[in-house]
Amino acid sequence: MYKWFLAWRYLHTKLIAFFGVASVMLCVAMVLVVMSVMGGFLDTVRERSRGMLSDVVLEAGSMQGFPYYEEFETYVAKHMSDIVAVTTPTIVNYGLIRVPDTSQTKPAQIVGVRLNEYCTINDFKGGLHYEEYFPGTTTLAKQPIAVAGLDPNTEKLSLPPELEAANRKWQESVGDPEEIEKYESLPYATSAFPKTAAPYYYDRVFAADIGEPKYEGPEHMGLIVGSDVLWDRDKQGGFKRYLARGTRLALTVLPLTPSGTLTGEPPVRIPLRYADDSRTGIFEIDSMCVYVDFDMLQQKLAMDAQEKIDGGFTKPRAKQLLIGLKEGVDLDEGWARVQAGWLNFLATLGPNVDDGDMTRLGFVDVYTWEDLQRPLIAAIEKEKVLVTILFGLISLVAIVLLGCIFYMIVEKKTKDIGILKSLGASGRGVAGLFVVYAAAIGVVGAALGTLLGSAFVWNINTIQDKLAQLNPALKVWSPDVYSFDKIPEVVKQQDAMWIAIVAVIASMVGSLIPAFLAARVWPVKALRYE
């Protein structure tokens, strides 16, 4: 009993205990902050990269895609409706995006999607900018440019009625007058020509005219650009949208034959209209990808059914078939079923399949979204492990320091050890006293460290902003670099619990040698110690 009693007394009467508690606290806080930020970073990347794909992906081994994807969709609907909720094909290709008004040309990864299906299979819709403020208006179909003008009734600058109605729908769903007011106060662009050299940028950028609100210009298919393809960012992570919604853009693509050779035709130029911009939060995706209508792209790339010289038609091709599993279906189980289903499907195709098509089908693989994003996720996972190891090493130093502190405590308490032993305390009991004392220091330090670390993580962005106010060089998190606006600020309870447990154990381990030494001291020797 005296172990607990004395450990408690030592804990709140010894200055040295304060240093022990402080070192455990700082170690726990440090490791918790690192693990939370890096873990949050990893989780965000995982979550967002998942958002771009579906649970299971059937992917062709080469750019020219694979045939029979429609037939496999039918097969899935018939045989796997118990686990599959939705399927949609996509095309992934490369080309050039051009802004004719500014003569700006950039390389881009072109993704052909069926927007409605694509939005049901993943979180793509959540990252669309105009779709948020004007729900239901983003489309990849043919569209003119919407021009803001003076409303004859209100004499206010406003958009055509459909867009105003959509915006009112957003306002009703938001309900926060402050946010609505903030958005309302943003001006439109003031001319039909985008303000490429404008000193300001706006979150709602529409062409504007002094006439009535209207749609004008020839209709072109829509294009959604990745948020970092055309826009630069400001220091707060906001995008400098300098093109009005509906501005003309152009894509240049190079069609390939089913066997992967050039068709011999000149590159295809596709006029499009800027319909929206997409933000997944992953810089690698947002800085490269643009999205167009699947069927249009398929046709422009000659991946649709083409008439053969010897009669008949080639099979239309897609690069990927995205397969969304039903709620509650295990990812690995879903993958295994789709994999087996795909092999069965191939077996049903029979001998009529063209040899070239058969070769292409042989290179189709079934992946989970995690498999496809592995390079991205693995890099950050490794980074997390590396940083955790580095801070673990620092914590190891802290444990050694803790050992030193306990050694000093034992040295200082040698006389007490003699007194306790002369009163009949056992060596094991005295050692236990110091281990209990260390555990108490560990528990208090871990609790305070968890509080400190959690408070730091929860307020990490505010702290960074305050530091940046003092000195801009102290702003360590650049949204421009990391793609996320904010440093992740979530503390996982499980992480916090494990760190605290390890800290308590480490404190106890740090005290073992001094405790063992204390146990061996003869009472007479200890009593003579001055």
Binding site: M1, Y2, G418, I419, L420, K421, S422, L423, G424, P523
Partner: protein, 236 residues
């Protein structure tokens, strides 16, 4: 039943001091009867404290035996020797040796706490506090129970040490120069207290260099150069 409580026979103890060996005790023998107040006298460095430490099983002799109630202390298992230190013997040191973080009451209680596990302490707590309080009252420190050693005078600290030595009701009290660090008046008071305890039946073995202090004992032994000799008569 024999009236003899403690018997030491042929105790030898030496220490290494650098390259030389200092022989502190050279075949010391003594015995103490139940209820006796025995004083061992000797000059500084004569081996008095070493002898007392051996009698209290706080150290091991090079040779010789100490028998308590006919049991050889150094032949006992460690746990039994610890039980001897805790329950059969109470030790009073010249420099008090109180735990500085604890108040007077807690310093007395600590000897009792050592005997208990966390579970058994719950049952014994109330009685133990009452016993400790009673002992502090007996040594005249009822009002100083909540004071830490640093807030007590030398005499008061020694009283706390005596109360601690007695809290487990030991049959034998070993006192190592109990007045050695106190002035004459306070030393006299402490000796009065020890005499009072002895009159109430407590067996006491005390070592001292002070003949006046030793005169309170029933019997006095002289230790010089590690050898024991009879040094006085019964005071009664």
């Amino acid at each position: 039943m024999s009236n003899e409580m403690l018997r030491a026979k042929g105790l030898h103890k030496s220490y290494k001091m650098g390259r030389s060996v200092v022989r502190v005790l050279r075949g010391v023998s003594l015995s103490a009867k139940r209820g006796e107040f025995l004083a061992v006298m000797g000059a500084s460095g004569s081996g008095k404290s070493t002898l007392l430490h051996l009698l209290g099983a706080l150290d091991l002799p090079n040779r010789g035996t100490v028998e308590y109630e006919n049991r050889d202390l150094f032949g006992l298992p460690r746990s039994a020797r610890r039980a001897y230190c805790n329950r059969d013997v109470g030790f009073v040191f010249q420099f008090y040796h109180l735990l500085p973080e604890l108040n007077a009451l807690e310093n007395v209680l600590i000897a009792r706490l050592i005997t208990h596990s966390a579970g058994s302490w719950m049952g014994a707590r109330r009685q133990s506090r009452a016993d400790a309080g009673e002992l502090l009252e007996r040594v005249g420190l009822k009002d100083r129970a909540r004071h830490r050693p640093s807030e007590l005078s030398g005499g008061e600290r020694q009283r706390v040490a005596i109360a601690r030595a007695l809290v487990n009701r030991p049959a034998l009290l070993l006192a190592d120069e109990p007045t050695g660090n106190l002035d004459a008046k306070i030393g006299g008071e402490i000796m009065g207290l020890l005499t009072e305890l002895n009159e109430a039946g407590q067996t006491i073995i005390m070592v001292t260099h002070d003949a006046q202090v030793a005169s309170r004992a029933h019997r006095r032994l002289q230790l010089s150069d590690g050898v024991m000799s009879e040094g006085g008569t019964d005071r009664r």
